[in-house]
């Protein structure tokens, strides 16, 4: 098992490295001029050329990538200019390892930017995750047990509505009514957990709910399908024939089988959400990773984009490894020998 995890981790790291290269190549293959954005609106061609050189955008992609990888391992300076560093040390920004680059737009190190934004996305993702898993599984099981009744139809129908409406609509709707009109929760804002756990929760409950309602719809339908499928399995008939009470059959035999496939999905969805929820964050003005990604994309800010790719990809890769290991724990048939 240990060897398996090590092997998976190594292949995950290789994948990450390749992804950074691919992202850079994609970026430079487009008709983008990051140096113009970085320089500003009124810039002479000479100034643009200087900016280009300062960021190293004049070098071949592979060289830039080499510098980037070096930055991750031992840090680097912006601009990479020994003479300037000697003459005007105040003009050179040092970026300590692990350095994901320097954003001219935010005039900050990407690592710092991600460090500030990540807790916001993390908080949102965790609260949303708890809400949607609880709600999705609960309503999914109820719908399955009441299959064909008005309760089942109601649950499936309502979840479909939340699934069909765009997130920004649900988000704005909740914002407008729950927060502003009925004043049930304070205006959504991010308050660090360490500062006040209660305000942290009430501040992000609406955006988290918006996300949860969207994901929940899928989980309700899938839980319902998995439970129904499991209930028609032969081993459930065996359990009945043994004389087990219905409740025990449901909790021990049906649920165990029905929840296994949910683990995979839940893990991957959570990992994806950790990389930021762009629309929801925008609607509620949360400056998480999603907001950062939007800013980076609209300003051709390559360092942030590459940094976000790394972060998001590591979550997905990590989640995959965790899910696979969890699977081996849950399902004895896939245990590695």
């Amino acid at each position: 098992m240990f060897a398996y995890i090590v092997r998976r981790t190594i292949s995950g790291l290789v994948l990450l490295v390749v992804m950074t290269l691919v992202t850079m190549m994609l970026f430079f293959s487009g008709p983008l001029h990051p140096e113009r954005h970085a320089c500003g609106k009124i810039c002479s061609p000479a100034q643009i050329a200087v900016t280009k050189k300062a960021f190293g955008y004049d070098k071949p992609v592979l060289v830039q990538w080499g510098q980037f990888m070096q930055g991750i391992v031992k840090g680097r300076n912006f601009p990479e200019d020994k003479k300037l560093e000697k003459d005007h040390p105040e003009l050179v920004v040092h970026c300590t390892a692990p350095c994901l680059g320097y954003s001219k737009y935010f005039t900050q190190n990407v690592t710092t930017l991600i460090k500030t934004s990540f807790p916001i996305s993390l908080s949102l993702a965790i609260v949303a995750f708890i809400l949607w898993i609880t709600g999705g599984v609960l309503f999914g099981v109820i719908a399955a047990l009441r299959k064909g009744t008005i309760i089942d139809r109601g649950i499936v129908g309502i979840s479909l509505i939340f699934y069909a409406f765009p997130t920004f609509f649900i988000g704005l709707f909740l914002y407008k009514f729950v927060s502003i009109k009925w004043q049930l929760v304070p205006t959504p804002e991010y308050i660090p957990f360490s500062q006040n756990p209660w305000s942290w929760l009430t501040g992000l409950i609406l955006p988290a709910l918006t996300l949860a309602l969207f994901f929940m719809a899928g989980y309700v339908r899938m839980t319902r399908a998995f439970v129904l499928e499991s209930m028609s399995e032969d081993y459930i008939r065996t359990a009945k024939a043994k004389g087990l009470p219905a409740r025990r059959i449901l909790t021990k035999h049906t649920m165990r089988a029905a929840f296994t496939p949910l683990v995979t999905m839940a893990g991957l969805d959570l990992a994806g959400l950790l990389g930021g929820a762009i629309i929801t964050e925008t609607v509620f003005n949360f400056n998480g990773l999603g907001g950062l990604a939007v800013a980076a994309a609209t300003n051709n800010d390559l360092p942030i984009l590459v940094g976000l790719v790394i972060v998001l990809a590591s979550f997905v890769i990590l989640a995959n490894i965790i899910v696979d290991v969890l699977y081996a724990v849950i399902d004895p048939r896939v245990r590695v020998g």
Binding site: E233, D234, Y235, R237, T238, A239, K240, A241, K242, G243, L244, P245, A246, R248, H253, R256, A257, T260, I330, D331, P332, R333
Partner: protein, 355 residues
């Protein structure tokens, strides 16, 4: 109607009907089935797929409760009508007084729990004992059904068992509480031929030891010949022939039974002998044929005067061979037809011996 003259009747099924209402109408999976079973004896229920064998036996266990099936009639176990019990009372009897083993032991066991866990569960639910006691009992039963190293194998998962061992484990699970009645629904169909024989031997051994009555559901007349005291042949949800095993196998009087016998290969028989399939396929239980349900496939229907086969459902009447053997057929002289037309085709070597 009864073949068991014995006083100690364990199970008595009277006019059992299991109907499933569907969008297209009522599916009569079992339509008026009656039989008796004495303690320690074996009844073989034979028929094609879809003839209502499994549905009838599931009804005995009350497995149709909670579905939309309509079950009527009487199922008397030790004199008590199981259909009158409430769900909780029925649950208590399942696994305790009546147990069941299924066709495919791999899908019949939960893949995520150890064999010991699943077997022990059957004991725990009906007895107020500790988990440890249940485990000890599981090991004991696994040993009894012939699993080597039961104290180690008890912690294995079903996928680590072979097919035959899984079916042994299922038998252990069923016999955990020493039930008076064991229903085996095609217990050997999913197994290798060599393993089949072992499982049947095991069932017979255990039957002698525990004195359980067994209902064995099968489409394999070989299994019936080896195991059963009585045989019930089912077609389209009804009994078409019922009687002592020996009688049915030697003097069958219903063309469907003849068809079943013709389609059994005979290992010792003539290599030139051909297997004769029953033409056609089983009827829809939604709208079974009028008259005798078997008439569309029956090659002997012309021997019946008039159009009786097409219009009148024959009653179960005593067979010509007498005794408790009954059959559902309009043929006036089935014993002659069998002797003259059927037997020479399926077992030419037997013709001379038959008087």
């Amino acid at each position: 109607m009864t073949t068991t003259t014995n006083a100690d009747v364990l199970l008595s099924v009277r006019d059992l009907k299991v109907h499933f209402p569907t969008m297209d109408g009522i599916v009569k999976a079992t339509d008026g089935l009656s039989f008796d079973l004495a303690k320690g004896t074996t009844l073989g229920i034979v028929g094609e797929s879809g003839s209502g064998k499994s549905v009838s036996s599931s009804a005995i266990l009350g497995l149709h409760r909670g579905t939309n099936a309509i079950v009527s009639g009487e199922i008397l176990l030790d004199g008590e009508d199981l259909l009158q019990l409430n769900d909780e009372q029925m649950r208590r009897r399942r696994g305790q007084d009546v147990a069941m083993i299924f066709q495919d032991p791999l899908s019949a066991m939960h893949p995520y729990y150890t064999v010991g866990n699943q077997i022990g569960e059957a004991y725990l639910v009906h007895n107020d004992v500790s988990k440890k006691a249940a485990r000890t009992r599981s090991i004991e039963m696994l040993d009894r059904v012939g699993i080597p190293q039961p104290d180690r194998r008890v912690d294995d998962y079903p996928h680590q068992f072979s097919g035959g061992m899984r079916q042994r484990a299922m038998i252990a699970m069923a016999l955990m509480n020493d039930p008076g009645l064991l229903i085996a629904d095609e217990p050997t169909t999913a197994l290798d031929v060599t393993v089949q024989a072992q499982i049947l031997d095991l069932l017979q051994d255990l039957q002698r030891e525990f004195n359980s009555a067994i209902i064995i559901i099968t489409h394999d007349l070989g299994v019936v010949a080896e195991m059963a005291d009585d045989v019930l042949v089912m077609y389209a949800g009804r009994a078409v022939e019922y009687g002592p095993c020996k009688e049915i196998l030697t003097h069958p009087e219903m063309p469907y039974t003849w068809g079943l016998l013709s389609s059994v290969p005979d290992v010792q028989g003539d290599t030139d002998a051909r297997l004769i399939p029953i033409p056609g396929s089983p009827p829809s239980l939604l709208s079974p044929p009028k008259g005798c349900a078997f008439h569309p496939r029956c090659v002997h229907r012309d021997k019946v005067p008039g159009d009786l086969c097409f219009t009148e459902l024959p009653d179960l009447t005593p067979a010509r061979s007498g005794g408790s053997h009954v059959k559902r057929c309009h043929l006036p002289n089935p014993d002659e037809v069998y002797r003259v037309e059927v037997l020479p085709e399926i077992a030419p070597d037997l013709v001379e011996e038959t008087p």
